[in-house]
């Protein structure tokens, strides 16, 4: 009798996404640290910025491949997650933008917005899975 993918196999399928998320988190933390330590244009800052951008691009590619290999139910959950994440990201970006324009939250940096969007997407995914559990 055929059986669904075993737990180790399913975990192996999620490994690339987990690795990318870990890399992204590490690069983001390093970027925040370097931004506070070194002046703009410093080679180290530049290098970590490139690594950060590469991590985001890699995560997008790996996640797209992972979703494509999943069954229709998982793809529905991912679509539901995007339906939550997109408007939430728009509202967050608008709120931060207007808050900065009005002199509130001026210590925030618009460069962190994409990383925040990744966090919103991850939270939305967890919420969507919870809804269908």
């Amino acid at each position: 009798m055929p059986t669904p993918a075993s737990t180790p196999a399913r975990l192996a399928g999620r490994l690339p996404v987990a690795v990318c998320l870990t890399l992204l988190a590490g690069a983001w933390i390093a970027h925040l640290f370097l931004r506070a330590t070194y002046h703009p244009g410093h080679p180290l800052r530049l290098l970590v910025s490139v690594v950060l951008i590469a991590c985001v691009a890699l995560l997008g590619w790996v996640q797209t491949r992972a979703v494509g290999s999943q069954d229709e139910f998982a793809r529905t959950v991912h679509a539901a997650a995007l339906a939550i994440a997109f408007p939430t990201s728009v509202v967050t970006a608008l709120a931060l933008g207007y808050a900065r324009a009005e002199g509130v939250l001026t210590h925030t940096d618009p460069h962190d917005l994409p990383a925040l969007m990744v966090a919103i997407w991850a939270a939305s995914l967890a919420l969507a899975w919870r809804r269908y559990r």
Binding site: P2, T3, Q70, D71, E72, F73, A74, R131, Y132
Partner: protein
């Protein structure tokens, strides 16, 4: 949409994981279909029908009477 998937699975003494293996989907998908949280696509619904040797109407049925049913079948 409601369905008899849980009953049909129990009749064959299958676990959700075993049924998922037959259908080529995840156990979570089978659980979501059984609990009515997810309606399968037509291809998957037909696959379920073929697996149990039943028509779709014998497995899946709407929550409430169809709209207009009273007009079509007056007492």
């Amino acid at each position: 949409m409601n369905n008899r998937l849980k009953v049909l699975r129990a009749e064959r003494d299958w676990t959700q994981g075993q049924l998922a293996g037959h259908l080529g989907v995840s156990r979570q998908a089978v659980n979501a279909i059984e609990t009515g949280k997810y309606d399968p696509s037509l291809p998957l619904a037909f696959k379920i029908g073929r697996l149990f040797g039943l028509s779709l109407e014998e497995i899946f049925f709407p929550d409430q009477p169809e709209r207009g049913a009273a007009l079509r079948d007056p007492i």
